[in-house]
């Protein structure tokens, strides 16, 4: 239980760790347009309800109440509802057109995690099925229920508790593999891009990201399909599949996917060295070229709601970050080797490079004279709260409106005493966050959730090539499927490398993980949306405490813009956290003698934590100096 927040940010916390994965109580999609008249049944508006075995009366009760409350509050406050917080649970709410999505978690889960979870869920659905309204016109509720269930189970399963808290990508533990293999994976992706129909790709191993050229949001979406197929097929050791030429390879698959036009534009703007493109790949005349912006007509621009920043960015494409495929392949050994360390240091190097060279995150946000806020699709921050990538301008427009409301019958069987949790006193509290800014933001940025009415999503194809546990997933232009030579080029350009990489990874991953030091740490990179940690898979009490404290602190960081450093502790341990706009770092020193009186005191061991963290984490490449 948090009892105090000092200026230095020492907070006390309780032991009970919450597993986000198990804490999803309810999710539903409700179509308000189906329930207009008095005589309309609430059940007619329920498109999907999780858990599916909930009695219909309960479903109706919850949907009806929450739809009413959400509408009422948003009309009163003139801003969409984002989060309804009750005593023991909270509801992340998204309203688009006539649709209402609600996701409920127990109240210990950080607000930001619940909201991100819901946004991601909606984003996934739209990515694989297109606009919601259109999907429900084309397919039956039963069919789409399977999809929702699949995405929910994907989000709940697999990743660790920490990954759930930060809603981040699961990456391969780069300390366990040779950095040269990360370079190899980056080169495989670049080799694919030599086909003009290939936009960007990522490599996944055992359901984790090895290397990606896409923004974190897209990478996360792509991973769902992969994880699904991985769990189904991991028994098939299909490495080194023969392809005698004529028959198409069975270990590849293409799936249609839906992206917003700004996402697609960003992908098409990617710098690719044209000098070593495959020669045989044809491009239809109406297709935007890879160096497209000069050939784009004004009407094209008008159709795609490019913001000025994007346009500027587009007209001055970032410097080429492609390193290997110079037309003169006589690159000396030294030259090529000098590429390795930087690329090797992070599996997601390419993403960072392209972002930092072409479009520093500050330049993504532009406030126009009329106060409208525009975003670039590449930006990784989700809609609400806490991502330090957000600009100050946006923060200033953020409004937090607290509305007390009575929640009759929303929570069954709640009779525990009121909780005091830092910022919210009172038992039945409803918080409405967000506001006008939300609508503005959707205008310019990816808006996974807007587009239920259709029209703004473009269809691309997701091409996947599997070798054992290794999957190459690339986004390609829609006519890739009908272009046999392009398919063959992409397939053969990476087949041998994928085979080899898989063989390397198979031998590497069997090695035992390095021993955990006398400390636990987690480092969250907000730009790449990745996590580095030495938290092991095996649960222990100090690790559970660490995870719990991390959740608390991450939540606090997301709520308090000016909070930069904090220490939380209970009787047995203390966790230090520090953040900048680009990263958050959490640190726990084990085995220190407890000299925690509970009263701030210079002798307190907790105050030596920042120094220890700086010193210990340097060797993990985390610089807190």
């Amino acid at each position: 239980m948090k009892i105090n927040v000092l200026h230095t940010g020492v907070v006390f916390f309780c032991e009970s760790a919450v597993v986000l994965a198990d804490s999803i109580n309810v999710f539903f999609l409700y179509d308000c347009s189906k329930v207009q008249e008095e005589c309309d049944l609430t059940r007619a508006g329920i498109c999907y309800f999780y858990p599916e075995d909930t009695p219909l009366e309960h479903q109706e009760l919850l949907c009806g109440q929450l739809a009413g409350v959400s509408r009422c509050v948003s009309e009163l406050s003139c801003s969409p509802v984002h989060l309804l917080r009750l005593r023991k649970s909270k509801y992340a709410v998204r309203m688009r057109d006539t649709f209402l999505w609600v996701l409920s978690c127990v109240s210990e889960v950080p607000d930001i995690s619940v909201c991100e979870f819901l946004d991601h869920l909606i984003g996934l659905f739209c990515f694989y099925n297109g606009p919601v309204q259109q999907s429900y016109q084309l397919h039956s509720q039963g069919e789409l229920a399977l999809h929702w269930a699949r995405y929910i189970s994907h989000l709940q399963g697999g990743s660790t508790e920490l990954h759930h808290i930060f809603s981040c990508l699961e990456t391969i533990r780069s300390t366990r593999i040779d950095p040269l293999l990360l370079l190899k994976s980056a080169l495989i992706l670049q080799a694919c891009q030599r086909c003009p129909l290939v936009l960007a790709g990522c490599l996944l191993y055992q359901g984790r990201v090895l290397s990606t050229q896409m923004c974190p949001e897209l990478t996360r979406k792509v991973m769902v399909n992969e994880t699904e197929t991985y769990s189904q097929e991991d028994r098939l050791q299909a490495h080194g599949v023969c392809w005698s030429g004529a028959t198409p390879p069975s270990n590849t698959v293409t799936t249609p996917v839906f992206l917003t036009s700004s996402e697609v534009n960003t992908l098409r703007c990617h710098p690719v060295d044209n000098s070593c493109r495959f020669h045989c790949s044809s491009q239809p005349p109406d297709q935007p070229k890879k160096t497209p912006l000069l050939s784009r007509t004004l009407s094209d621009i008008a159709n795609t709601d490019l913001d000025p920043a994007e346009l500027e960015h587009a007209l001055c494409p970032p410097a080429h970050y492609q390193t290997h495929s110079s037309p003169h392949s006589s690159l000396s050994d030294e030259e090529s080797f000098s590429l390795c360390p930087s690329t090797a240091s992070t599996p997601l190097h390419l993403t960072v490079t392209s972002q930092s060279e072409g479009s520093p995150s500050e330049s993504h946000d532009h406030i126009l004279p009329n106060g409208t806020l525009l975003y670039k699709a590449i930006e990784s921050s989700m809609f609400e709260g806490g991502s330090p990538v957000r600009s100050e301008g946006e923060r200033n427009t953020a409004e937090v409106v607290a509305v007390s409301a009575i929640s009759n019958g929303l929570e069954s069987g709640q009779d525990s005493p009121p909780q005091h949790d830092g910022e919210g006193e009172g038992t039945k509290e409803m918080e409405v966050r967000g506001g006008v800014k939300e609508e503005m933001r959707e205008g310019g940025r990816s808006g996974d959730c807007r587009s239920p009415s259709g029209g703004t999503l473009d269809c691309l194809l997701l091409y996947q090539h599997r070798v054992g546990s290794l999957v190459l997933a690339v986004l390609v232009e829609p006519h890739f499927n009908t272009d046999a030579s392009a398919k063959e080029d992409v397939y053969f350009s990476c087949l041998a490398s994928l085979n080899g990489l898989e063989a390397h990874l198979r031998t590497t991953s069997s090695q035992p993980p390095p021993a955990q030091g006398p400390y636990i740490y987690t480092h969250y990179d907000c730009v790449q949306n990745t996590l580095t940690t030495n938290v092991s898979e095996h649960s222990s009490s100090s690790q559970d405490s660490f995870v719990k404290a991390t959740a608390l602190l991450h939540s606090d960081f997301s709520l308090k813009d000016t909070l930069q450093e904090a220490i939380v502790r209970n009787a047995s341990c203390a966790v230090y956290a520090t953040r900048t706009k680009a990263q958050e770092t959490y640190f726990l020193q084990q085995g220190t003698s407890a000299r925690n009186s509970g009263i701030p005191n210079v002798q307190d061991t907790a105050f030596s934590l920042p120094g220890k963290a700086r010193q210990r984490l340097l060797k993990h490449g985390v610089n807190l100096l």
Partner: protein, 210 residues
């Protein structure tokens, strides 16, 4: 037992033979593999990092075999990545470029490295095949006779002059590899697998290719 490595039998009953391409960086190992398996030649290939492989099915003297061709990184710095994959090879293709005499002189080192890391028990009888690549390039530094002499003095290995760019002699070289492996298999002691015993009997009737 090195023969055991060959006892991977694929579902279609074709034998999997692991062959490995070794040689200095830039002599054209990847291009040789790509030309043979997918009949493509790419002028923009980057250094191979670690190892890569492709499978190719072929029929030699009435026997269906699958060649699993392992392409390796030639640069010294990639040594630790490539050497673990030498083990279990059925044939080693030592490759040099005819326009680079140093790559030819290094063949000895490559042979030693292979024998050491693949843990070859009898290097004298192990099937090596020597490839002199890039014969399309002008400015040749290694004469054909010189290369043939080296092959003769070092165990009578077959020698092929190839061009991955022009697709010269590629198919012939790899088919010879398959024949060599099958032939050397015959000299091995009887194996436990009944399937392999069957192969021995069958191949004995084949005419010797060397």
């Amino acid at each position: 037992c090195t023969g055991m490595s060959r006892v991977y039998v694929m579902a279609d009953k074709s034998t999997l033979l692991k062959v490995i391409l070794l040689g200095d960086g830039g002599v054209g190992k990847s291009s040789l593999m790509n030309r043979y398996v997918s009949n493509k030649f790419d002028t923009h290939l980057f250094h191979t990092i670690g190892v890569e492989f492709l499978n190719k099915e072929l029929e030699v003297d009435g026997r269906r075999v699958t060649l699993q061709i392992w392409d390796t990184a030639g640069q010294e710095r990639f040594r630790s990545l490539r050497t673990p994959f030498y083990r279990g090879s059925d044939c080693c293709l030592l490759t040099f470029s005819v326009d680079d005499s140093q790559s030819f002189l290094n063949l000895n080192l490559w042979r030693k490295e292979f024998v050491y890391y693949a843990d070859v028990k009898e290097p004298e009888s192990f099937p090596f095949v020597i490839l002199g690549n890039k014969i399309d390039v002008s400015g040749r530094q290694v004469a054909k006779e010189e290369a043939q002499r080296w092959c003769c003095e070092n165990g009578g290995h077959p020698y092929f002059e190839t061009s991955a760019k022009d697709a010269t002699n590629i198919v012939e070289a790899f088919e010879e590899v398959a024949r060599r492996v099958i032939a050397s298999d015959d000299k091995q002691e009887p194996l436990l697998s009944t399937h392999t015993v069957e192969l021995r009997r069958k191949s004995r009737s084949d005419p010797s290719c060397c």
